[in-house]
């Protein structure tokens, strides 16, 4: 185990990619220097940040000489490089399962979920910030795929076809996850792991964003899984660092089946 130097994490909300790094650091009980990068003000495309992470994406972890910018491999790094409890399964088949599911979350479910979020929340909220000339702000974005995402969000330029395909994938993803959680209590198998943390940074929003598709009737296993994770002190601690209304979505998880569903 290497000398645990105090890491620095550049993050946004405890949501999706930045949330993964925040949660594993909290689970391991690692003291870190956190910097909130305001995604809505497009701070991640400013020269100071690009000097650190030329891809202009959040999160970035700086640990001594090491700079890490891919959040899922970053979680594995944090788990391996720092002392504290381990969240990587001890057997190779479970490690494979954990990684397969993390890719599924990252490449399939997250993009499908995010399209609605970028349309309804990120685009309008960024327009309320002081981002200056919109076209110039878009031009500064280094990655082609992110440039196109911002273009769509700031001009509300999403086609019906892509929105409905995203919704279909979202629901199909819920179906696959529910089926998986019928086989195993946790993503990798028998124990809570990085896979659950990764999934939870998307999953915490399922019940409030997809109340008709993710609820105690249709997806009881997912609801139970979310509640088990939500009860962890590290989750509470991490979500308390949120500054937008996103973090309040955590509350919809704890609403019990018989409670009044209005107001979610």
């Amino acid at each position: 185990m290497m000398a645990p130097e105090r890491p620095v994490l550049y993050h946004w909300e405890p949501n999706s990619n930045p949330g993964k790094a925040m949660l594993i650091l909290a689970e391991k009980g690692i003291d870190y220097e956190g910097h909130y990068v305001d995604l809505l003000a497009m701070e991640q495309h400013r020269p100071e940040y690009l000097a650190l992470n030329p891809r202009g994406t959040i999160p970035t972890l700086v640990h001594g000489q090491n700079i890490l910018t891919e959040s899922t491999p970053m979680m594995e790094y944090i788990d391996a490089a720092f002392p504290g409890p381990r969240f990587t399964p001890g057997n190779a088949i479970e490690r494979w399962r954990m990684r397969w599911w993390m890719r599924f979350f990252d490449s399939y479910l997250a993009p499908a979920i995010s399209m609605g979020g970028w349309k309804r929340f990120i685009g309008p909220a960024a327009l309320e910030r002081d981002i200056g000339d919109i076209e110039a702000a878009i031009d500064r974005i280094p990655l082609e795929a992110r440039r196109s995402a911002w273009h769509k969000a700031l001009h509300d330029d999403f086609s019906e076809a892509e929105l409905s395909e995203s919704q279909r994938r979202y629901r199909y993803g819920l179906y696959l996850l529910e089926a998986h959680l019928c086989r195993f209590p946790w993503i990798a198998g028998n124990d809570y792991s990085l896979g659950d943390m990764n999934g939870f940074t998307l999953g915490y929003a399922f019940p409030s964003v997809q109340p008709d598709y993710c609820n105690d009737c249709k997806t009881p296993r997912i609801m139970d899984w979310l509640r088990r994770i939500c009860a962890r002190p590290a989750v509470r601690k991490t979500w308390s660092l949120g500054r937008t209304h996103l973090a309040s979505r955590l509350e919809a998880i704890t609403v019990k089946p018989d409670a009044d569903k209005e107001g979610i």
Partner: protein, 265 residues
């Protein structure tokens, strides 16, 4: 004994073949042709039904170990490195391991979305064109999951689409320059030693001297050219390539599902 379901030793299918040979693992080889099964799913055919029912990705190699279906070719490499005794194929240092996973997640996915379609355009499309159009469309609309239908359709749509072809071509040139600069510091992609990162990238690009010779030659990518030679001189790589039944693995491509953010819709 583990069982590997694979096709010709190229792209996704080549990765586990090399890694298993490097480890000296004895395995039973089950040859499947995804370009045939894709259009002709016979439920009575064991290989086809196992492939279709158990492989969540429907295409790509499948390794059966201890009753478990291991799929996803990059994760299969990690698994083989991790599970079987034999020479180390992945570093233990957390930062080096991070770099391997970063390559799998960025470069590996990028290459799959570029090399796959370009190879399919050259070699698969002419074969598809010979098929009855009505039958082809019927097979296509029955294809599951929908994402797989989309990538196959994208291959058909490449026909005569010079703009899309040029886009793929120029992105591939960018990826190759990225690889070239990774090879600046060392003979291998991550750290000083050979690893699954090399197997990942080699498998995706070893057909390029034939497919896109204008992008990969000593004048423009000297480091990659010698990397390919270094790889090809490894006994495990030779053994993997020798499992070809067609004699031309570098001509065998299948679209493959590599969903990426908001794209491919």
């Amino acid at each position: 004994m583990p069982a590997l379901y694979h096709w010709e030793p190229n792209t996704f299918y080549l990765k586990p073949l090399i890694a298993l040979h490097e480890k000296g693992v004895r395995f039973s080889s089950h040859y499947i042709d995804p370009t045939a099964t894709a259009f002709d799913i016979r439920p009575d055919c064991l290989d086809a039904s196992i492939e279709v029912l158990n492989n969540p990705e429907r295409e790509g190699p499948m390794l059966i170990e201890s009753g478990e279906v291991i799929c996803g070719s990059f994760f299969m490499l990690e698994f083989i490195a991790d599970f079987y005794p034999g020479p180390e194929l992945a570093p233990r240092d957390p930062m080096l391991y991070y770099r391997i996973q970063e390559i799998g997640q960025t470069l590996g996915v990028q290459l799959a979305t570029l090399v796959g379609p370009l190879g399919c355009e050259r070699y698969l499309l002419p074969k598809l064109r010979k098929r009855d159009a009505v039958q082809l469309n019927a097979a296509l609309s029955a294809m599951e999951p929908v994402e797989r239908r989309h990538v196959w359709q994208a291959v058909l749509d490449l026909e005569g689409n010079t703009q899309e072809f040029a886009r793929l071509h120029s992105k591939l040139a960018g990826s190759l320059q990225e690889i070239e600069s990774l090879l600046d510091a060392s003979d291998w992609l991550v750290g000083e030693d050979y690893s699954i990162a090399d197997i990942e990238v080699f498998s995706m690009i070893h057909s390029l001297p034939v497919l896109t010779p204008e992008l990969l030659h000593p004048g423009c990518t000297p480091k990659i050219v010698s990397f390919l030679q270094r790889m090809q001189s490894r006994p495990a790589v030779r053994a993997a390539l020798a499992m070809s039944r067609t004699g031309h693995p570098e001509r065998c491509f299948v679209p493959g599902i590599e969903p990426s953010r908001w794209l491919g819709l």
